[in-house]
């Protein structure tokens, strides 16, 4: 049977497809990273790129159409849309990345310990993860956010709490397969401590899938944050955040006033796309390596 495949794809063509896959993966990674770099720059350079503050009100212009002093117009509060779109990148990017970092940290630790030690601790932990995973993630985020209340720190905790169980499960599965491999026995017999084995041997080897998933997860975290703000459970006006801005602009859409909701939505979409491209590229590369 193996000959059949070899007959179809000779060594040369296999190599060609692999390098083409590789180039495609690199293209995805570079595009994604470039988009994210632009968004991060916009966040940092917001004061240089705009002449209005994030929450500065222009009393002479409420809901003004784009043009003149306000390149993208103003919202119902008379705040400059262009400036706010730029400043909002700080909160959106910051909260999403911080939340995913926290989720990776907590999830990985729990997964490592549960996977290596096993026993009742593992049982209890996995049952808790089961309960968490009995809900669609956005619903869970919604409930936690509504109960915790808003505020930047609470939002980071909410999004991290919703994601951590998935990382715990992922790392635990990885650790359980790695644990059975000879190199772990070798480390133990040569006198490495439990912490040493976990930290130096199992952790680095178990992080591979986490590295691929984390960027995709950042994009999802941004969508969740904006979704929560849109429903009034995340960041609230007057702070500059894309979801909250879209929420404020939603009332203008029916009247055909597009400039309060289109720009923040586009900014959000492009940033999430950056994370998606990056994640897709990493995934592609990981798949190519496995083959």
């Amino acid at each position: 049977m193996a000959d059949l495949r070899a007959a179809g794809a000779t060594g040369a063509t296999a190599r060609v497809t692999r390098s083409r896959d590789d180039r495609f993966a690199r293209l995805l990674i570079i595009t994604g990273a470039a988009i994210l770099a632009v968004v991060a720059m916009a966040a940092l350079a917001a004061p240089l790129l705009s002449s209005w503050g994030a929450t500065e009100i222009d009393p002479a212009a409420t809901l003004a159409a784009p043009g003149g002093a306000h390149p993208l117009g103003t919202d119902t509060n008379g705040m400059d849309v262009w400036s706010r779109v730029l400043y909002a990148a700080r909160l959106d990017l910051g909260i999403a990345v911080a939340a995913v970092a926290l989720a990776v940290l907590v999830g990985t630790l729990l997964g490592l310990v549960a996977g290596y030690l096993g026993g009742w601790l593992d049982d209890v932990l996995m049952r808790v993860v089961d309960i968490f995973q009995a809900f669609p993630t956005f619903i869970l985020a919604l409930a936690v956010a509504a109960l915790l209340g808003n505020g930047t720190v609470n939002l980071i905790i909410t999004i991290a709490a919703v994601n951590a169980p998935a990382y715990a499960r992922l790392v635990r599965a990885e650790v359980r397969t790695q644990r059975e491999l000879p190199f772990v026995d070798a480390a133990v017999t040569s006198g490495a401590s439990t912490v040493g084995v976990l930290w130096r041997h199992l952790l680095p080897n178990s992080l591979t899938p986490v590295r691929v998933i984390a960027p995709l997860n950042c994009g999802w975290a941004m969508l969740t944050l904006a979704g929560l703000s849109f429903l009034g459970l995340g960041v609230s006006i007057p702070e500059a955040e894309w979801g909250a801005m879209i929420s404020l602009g939603a009332a203008d859409v029916v009247g055909g006033r597009w400039w309060t909701s289109v720009p923040p939505g586009l900014a959000l979409f492009v940033s999430v796309l950056g994370f998606s491209l990056l994640g897709e590229g990493l995934q592609e590369r990981a798949n190519a390596k496995r083959r």
Binding site: G243, G249, A250, V254, G265, V272
Partner: protein
């Protein structure tokens, strides 16, 4: 028979998970800040008024007592009384589930068909122009904020073109629709109400389209990936090398093995669709389950929060169970 035993075993396994959900929701909603009583009383209410209201809803009882009462009610199918409206939670919920299921079921069904057709088509043209287009579409669908897409569709479909009704309500009140199930399109068909059918359908187009874009993207990627795997498998290569006609190859070999994975995917996507519906309902002022649960959460309406969380968890795990059973029927290798 084996399937029956499997279902019973899985249902028994669900009991601890659901019990965990019940306990956790009950405790969390009470431990965390927020008071349901304050929100129903006016600003001028005295402490005595608050205490009386608390007693009316049994909130003055010790926690264990409240929990046993709640659990006792659940066993008899009683979800309690809403603190906000004073109505039975079960009755309110029954009114809200129809409209939401209507949205989700239509959207997920369309998404499944579209994802299967496009995913297989894309895999057979792997790395050609059409395939790249499909993959790009999936990436965009995965990255676009659904609530914003909904708003953009309103902007285009209602404000600019005027083809679709305003995003408020589910059917034209002049159509005189008699509610039966709560799902307006179904009710209109059942009562053979012509104007209501067209009005309900027109109101459905934009919200369903919004949901479909978000739901179809992850499905499309998975269908494409599993079709590619089949195409690259030795079994498929052997079948192709035997010179089987393309039709047989497509239907007998490619489709069937690709579709084996679809039930599990559909279950997962059903979950994301429930999550997205909360946002989509909000955009289109769709008076469904999501809006109801959201309001319950915001006002800390304990019985409403408990009931909606439990029902979502129950739906979600049941859908996964159904997916496993369908998978076992489709794939003879699966032993359950």
């Amino acid at each position: 028979m084996r399937i029956f035993r499997f279902v019973v075993r899985r249902l028994l396994q669900l009991i601890p998970v659901l019990l965990g959900v019940v306990v956790l929701t009950f405790l969390l909603v009470r431990v965390l800040p927020g008071d349901p009583i304050r929100s129903i009383l006016g600003q001028n209410a005295t402490e005595a008024d608050a205490a009386a209201a608390r007693a009316r809803f049994g909130l003055d009882q010790p926690l264990w007592r409240q929990f046993l009462d709640y659990l006792g009610g659940l066993v008899t199918g009683d979800f309690g009384t809403s603190i906000q409206s004073g109505a039975s939670v079960g009755g309110e919920m029954a009114l809200r589930i129809g409209p939401t299921l209507e949205l989700v079921v239509i959207a997920v069904s369309i998404a499944l068909v579209v994802a299967t057709v496009l995913g297989v088509w894309s895999a057979r043209r792997a790395n050609r122009l059409g395939d790249h287009g499909i993959r790009l579409f999936a990436l965009v669908g995965n990255s676009i904020p659904e609530f914003w897409l909904g708003l953009m569709l309103v902007l285009l479909g209602y404000s600019v073109l005027g083809w679709f009704p305003a995003p408020s309500g589910r059917v034209d009140p002049d159509a005189n629709l008699t509610p039966i199930t709560g799902a307006d399109l179904v009710d209109a068909v059942l009562t053979a109400n012509g104007p209501a059918i067209s009005s309900a359908a027109a109101h459905l187009v934009l919200p369903v389209l919004t949901l479909v874009v978000g739901v179809v993207a992850p499905l499309l990627r998975s269908v494409r990936a599993s079709a590619l795997e089949v195409l690259n498998s030795e079994a498929y290569a052997a079948a192709a090398a035997h010179g089987l006609p393309p039709r047989t190859l497509l239907h007998g070999y490619l489709m069937r093995s690709t579709l084996v994975r679809l039930p599990a995917l559909a279950a997962l996507v059903f979950g994301t669709a429930i999550g997205s519906t909360v946002l989509v309902e909000y955009v289109y002022s769709w008076q469904g389950f999501g809006q109801w649960a959201l309001r319950g959460l915001l006002y800390r309406d304990y019985p409403v929060v408990q009931a909606s969380v439990l029902v979502i968890a129950l739906c979600y795990v049941l859908v996964f169970l159904i997916a496993d059973v369908v998978h076992a029927i489709l794939d003879p290798r699966v032993r359950i």
